[in-house]
Symmetry: C2
Subunit: 273 residues, 2 copies
């Protein structure tokens, strides 16, 4: 009976900003009956240029906010947070938890043919070495080419996202050409913001390179994890998303539409952190 | 005697990040005997894309940090904070205070010949209308062309600051050409980060347009204000700068050199906020 109740709890998802909505979008697609509680720390975004100590402090605070609600799993839908955590879980063992690093690394190792994988992320993500470590834990002989892309999060957050935007294209070329030239056949988009400019990234990398969205992989990993523990809901009706942000509701409604069109009309609450 | 003691107090300067060091640099130049206490909220930078409510909350917290030290004046060396405050002072009347908006507006009105002034700033600064209001309070017949430049703070913070950097040049052209074409003869660099790319801005605006650094003007205004109140120090030996930041000391040392070369070797303390 305890599990029966737990089943009805929401899946808690947090991110430094709104990139994590790419994971929520995938959760809504593959688990439409589940309730989702999302927290975006929009008053302190971005995390990717901060020190590890500050990122871990923010992470603890973000998780505390989600845990004020009945949640049955927590997803850190943020490449920077996931990399800072490494293999440490920030919650007790009974609470299912995943970041985006391991799920993305697992999929990348499965689909690469030449065993050369590219990784793009924020400066903090790349500096942490989290993706490289996860890839090598799965297959020590994988070649990894990793590149920090400090500007991309901002270009996405400011809506420089058209396929032909010259600034985003120029910045993305600078970051991606070394990975393409090095010969990777698979690219992990290691920050949950990047899928919004997937078409620009795909144009530069070419059709022979497979792109992996870290947020989508985390959503699929969470589904498997909940299924394994018997924690998926048995409700028939569709679930709801509730959004919490640390900056204003208005800025959420304005920006969320780039990530998840439905979010702009959803239930949004602004909280102090 | 009370004033005698106050005179020896430091000048407190704060910014959302490190742009405010352009004001500190000018203070060191024009008031070399003064002690400076600087706080940069590097764990929460940038403010310029946040809501006004969040910016004002952060401002109160930043001022509280400076006031833990004996300061005789407070300078908000941040265009975003100054614009959010408008004509309100965030401290009691006895404490001299200035932002960057009024000092820059006053100088711009004095030097413009065609009475057409351009303003660039963060989205929050431009949205607030603070500069336009200040310019019109001084001279209601000034024409103002204002433009939000969301990317420039990041380009500066990430070191995309070489005169020939193609991304910064492209972004700056997109923001500045409408101001140039509108015919402004004076441009207020309304965010304290922008002087770092002054040469790129000058190349685009051309030699007939005069550039005003908001941080430098605030420093000069502070000098006048302290002189008027008899609060300048009478020490003969050079003053010291002490730096506080909310992110790590290391990231301060790495980034501060772009703004103020000496800062990288100064006394730096990291504090929680």
């Amino acid at each position: 009976m305890k599990n029966q109740n737990l089943n009805q709890n929401a899946i808690g998802v947090f991110d430094s900003g709104l990139g994590g909505l790419t994971a929520v979008k995938e959760l809504n697609r593959i688990l439409p009956q589940e309730n989702i509680i999302f927290f975006g720390d929009t008053a302190r975004v971005p995390y990717g240029t901060r020190s590890r100590k500050t990122i871990l402090r923010y992470t603890r605070e973000d998780i505390a906010i989600l845990r004020q609600h009945p949640v049955k799993m927590i997803i850190a839908a943020c490449g920077t947070v996931s990399s800072a955590l490494g293999t440490d879980s920030p919650v007790e063992e009974e609470m299912p938890f995943t970041g985006v690093v391991y799920p993305a690394a697992r999929t990348a190792c499965r689909i690469t043919k030449n065993r050369h994988i590219g990784v793009i992320g924020t400066p903090a993500t790349i500096r942490s070495g989290g993706y490289v470590e996860a890839l090598h834990a799965i297959d020590p002989e994988i070649t990894v080419t990793a590149m920090a892309c400090p500007l991309l999060v901002h270009l996405v957050e400011y809506g420089y996202t058209n396929r032909d935007n010259p600034i985003t294209r120029l910045a993305a070329e600078e970051y991606l050409m070394p990975i393409k030239n090095a010969g990777a056949d698979t690219l992990i988009m290691g920050c949950t913001h990047y899928p919004i400019i997937r078409d620009i990234i795909a144009d530069i990398m070419g059709q022979d390179v497979q792109l992996i969205s870290a947020g989508e992989e985390a959503a699929k990993f969470a589904r498997d994890c909940l299924a394994q523990r018997g924690l998926l809901t048995d409700r028939a009706e569709p679930g709801h998303n509730i959004y919490y942000v640390s900056d204003s509701e208005e800025s959420f409604r304005e920006n969320a539409k780039h990530f998840l069109p439905d979010a702009a009309h959803g239930q949004v609450f602004s909280i102090h952190i």
